[in-house]
Symmetry: C2
Subunit: 220 residues, 2 copies
């Protein structure tokens, strides 16, 4: 059966592919699973029909038959467990790849989201400019550790996995503010992810939503 | 084989059980798996031997045979997949329980950690007192959604699962500041988790580290 995912009706970032549906689109493309899309407006996120699918009123969601899932990490893992291509076969390597999926979401992403949201949450406060260096120093500390672990390898632990998919997407959220750019091996790592055919197909698909009439408010 | 987990050599929260090893201890107790403990000092977290196990220099880690894992979410999921007691058998219910594990870590925990760390990160800044209400409002918004979904149920989706284990531990991090206390069904939910025999055994074990000479600096 063809699964359905929810995405923003209008691309909030102008088609840059930073919204969390991109993670699921990419995973679906990696495993060769076609999917349908249900667009949701920003107002629609708070309506009962959507909250029944996603109690926190976000995207993406995933529906296939009697299964309804939310949380991009859970959806990517679900796909990775049921199809080939996103997790190694060896049990220990598989557990480690899933470890990187959690590291992307629980260790690397939180300080990045804080930095990303700061202008919206407190951009009008007098302390905003003073906090930015603190927020960026926190991200830099995490990236230094990640960069040291990655070294000269192509991917975080052997072959490309769901952990790399998620880490690349998380790192993309800070492109352009000069933090990621201080770690050339991480920049190259992100570029390797973006060069994958499945990534390109997913990116084109989310960008089409933007081209079809989405507007940008600059916020992912 | 008996797995080994790393824990703080000295309980940083005075035995309150808020450090992330408690999540793994609780999971191990739920599935009836004995374990060994390797204490790590705060200085030791940054040493090469520990960074080889955990690239971000944190606890817990998990080692069993040739497998070394980090990230509490990944370790709890690994245990839940290999033992009975933390995930339902039905495939869809299982995927949803894993979804709650991710929701605890990627949607509910980040604003809680921000609030928890604020006094340490910027407690000496003039804006600190002004930011606290913003930080707490963000947590409250998430808890309102979580509370609405939980309703009068005992657990988030059917029987107790790894998702509940993680959510209870995440919610415990904001006990006592008056935010969680505004949602009586969440307070009762946390209490149900704390009343489980496995939780009590795990709590006693981490507290013994404190009693054995740990000191408190008030920070998890």
């Amino acid at each position: 059966m063809t699964p359905t995912i929810t995405v923003f009706e209008r691309s909030p970032d102008g088609g840059r592919g930073l919204a969390r549906d991109m993670r699921v689109r990419w995973a679906l493309e990696e495993v060769g699973q076609p999917y349908d899309v249900r667009p949701v407006s920003f107002d629609g996120l708070k309506r009962p029909a959507h909250l029944a699918r996603h109690p926190f009123g976000q995207i993406p969601t995933y529906e296939a038959g009697d299964l309804a899932l939310f949380e991009s990490g859970a959806i990517v893992l679900h796909l990775a467990e049921r199809h080939e291509g996103l997790l190694p076969e060896d049990a220990s390597a598989r557990a480690r790849a899933i470890g990187w999926l959690f590291a992307a979401l629980n260790t690397v992403e939180p300080p990045i989201v804080e930095r990303e949201q700061a202008p919206y949450v407190e951009g009008d406060q007098p302390w905003h400019a003073q906090r930015l260096p603190l927020l960026e120093a926190r991200i830099r500390a995490r990236l230094a550790q990640l960069s040291a672990r990655l070294g000269e390898a192509d991917w975080l632990d052997g072959a490309f996995s769901a952990g790399d998919l998620m880490m690349v997407m998380v790192l993309r959220r800070i492109e352009g503010i000069g933090v990621l750019e201080g770690f050339p091996n991480l920049v190259a790592y992100v570029a390797r992810g973006e060069a994958r055919p499945a990534y390109r197909r997913a990116f084109a698909a989310q960008r089409a939503v933007f081209a079809d009439g989405g507007t940008t408010d600059g916020r992912a």
